[in-house]
């Protein structure tokens, strides 16, 4: 039962990563791509961490995985802000 749930969560995470990658490749501009990527990073990694935590069967490992997810959330969000900000600054400055 737990093994099945673990696989299910990991597959769900992989689907989010796939969708995010397709979005990165297909969407027209930086903001749309960021939107697609952050969804993939946050939710996809979240699901995979959940699946791996169930699979590990240990509170210590689950805690570490949770920390990794939180750190990735922080870094992803900040990087997203920085990229979007630099694009905005370039648009206002260069008019392109």
């Amino acid at each position: 039962m737990i093994a099945a749930a673990s696989v299910l969560f990991c597959v769900a995470g992989a689907v989010f990563f796939l969708a995010g990658t397709v979005g990165l490749l297909r969407l027209p501009d930086t903001f749309c791509r960021l939107h697609a990527l952050t969804k993939a990073d946050n939710l996809g990694l979240g699901f995979i961490v959940l699946g791996l935590a169930l699979d590990s069967g240990s509170w210590a490992v689950s805690g570490k995985l949770l920390l990794i997810w939180l750190l990735a959330l922080l870094a992803g969000t900040s990087a997203c802000y920085l990229i979007a900000n630099s694009v905005l600054a370039k648009r206002e400055g260069g008019g392109g």
Binding site: L71, L74, A75, T77, S78, Y81, L82, N85, K90
Partner: protein, 316 residues
């Protein structure tokens, strides 16, 4: 075919494909980004080869620091080019291709020449491990059995950073980058740096019993330094503080070796009961110096772009 073999094959094919892509990327920016990807994939390959310490070093140096240095160099070469960079087609050079093919052939021959299942020096290391002061064979070799090698490696790092700083024009390491960092970046840096230092200390301590040690810890400290500097955090170390930080690892080795020789032992012939402590001391100094070297390489090269406010000037 088991899942593990399938994954390894996929990884191997991807590595070659990505390496090809680095050489044939449409622009230098793409090439750098794909090179960083290559470093991360290499780290996974090392992890699959059960070499977690090399995987850590590859991820931190190969993908992280080298990537940052390359991106920074790119910015210095094409200021303001952004993504509108001219596309340059590179035609493969025949001489380089032949040389690479010959080198690859020699490497394959050397690989085939290694006797299978030969234990090498593994048994000697395991035999002497109890007297080395640590329980991790890699650390025992690097910091005890072959500490002379490691000492000289730190010397090479020191010479490299001295060379880079000598080539740098004008200002020193004591300025800050222009323009303040935005609030989110500052917030992230303030949150991340203590955590990075904590993990660095943990890796340093871990080195005596598991994968970890001075190099991994040092690279983390270096990354923390680069983050702090980019976010415009003060105080930036003064000139003499930089010198101290950069030379600490080499000096720790030299000092301990000198004391041992004065006591009638050979250079780096640690007394077994003190070996653990001495190794931890040397590794601490080495980690600080490696971190300072990484940060100084970045900051030193950054200054060459010539758009840096100097010393005491305010950055806002």
């Amino acid at each position: 075919m088991s899942a593990a073999v399938f994954f390894d094959l996929l990884l191997a094919v991807t590595l070659v494909a990505v390496a090809w892509r680095v050489l044939h990327a449409p622009g230098t920016f793409e090439a750098v980004v794909v090179f960083i990807t290559l470093g991360l994939l290499m780290a996974i390959a090392w992890a699959r080869l059960s070499a977690p310490d090399i995987a850590l070093a590859e991820a931190a140096v190969g993908a992280g620091l080298t990537g940052v240095l390359l991106l920074d160099t790119l910015r210095a070469l094409h200021p303001g080019a952004g993504d509108k960079e001219p596309v340059v087609r590179h035609h493969p050079s025949w001489a380089a291709s032949v040389a690479a093919a010959v080198l690859a052939g020699v490497l394959v021959l050397a690989l085939l020449g290694i006797p299978r299942d030969a234990p090498g020096l593994t048994e000697r290391v395991v035999e002497e491990l109890p007297r080395s002061g640590v329980s991790q064979p890699v650390t025992a070799v690097l910091l005890n059995f072959r500490s002379y090698d490691t000492w000289l490696e730190l010397g090479v790092l020191l010479i490299a950073v001295v060379a880079v700083l000598s080539l740098r024009a004008g200002t020193g390491l004591t300025g800050v980058p222009p323009g303040g960092a935005g609030a989110p970046l500052l917030w992230l840096v303030r949150l991340l740096v203590p955590m990075v230092v904590l993990v660095g200390g943990y890796l340093l301590w871990l080195g005596k019993s598991a994968a970890g040690g001075a190099f991994q810890a040092g690279v983390l400290l270096g990354a923390a330094g680069v983050l702090l500097w980019l976010a415009g955090q003060r105080p930036v170390p003064r000139e003499w503080q930089w010198r101290l930080l950069l030379a600490l690892g080499f000096a720790a080795f030299l000092g301990i070796g000198g004391v041992l020789m004065a006591g009638g032992r050979l250079l780096f012939e640690y007394p077994p009961e003190l070996a653990g402590t001495l190794i931890l001391l040397i590794e601490t100094g080495a980690a600080v110096s490696i971190g300072a070297t990484m940060a100084a390489l970045f900051i030193g090269l950054h200054f060459r772009t010539g758009e840096i406010s100097t010393g005491g000037a305010d950055d806002t």
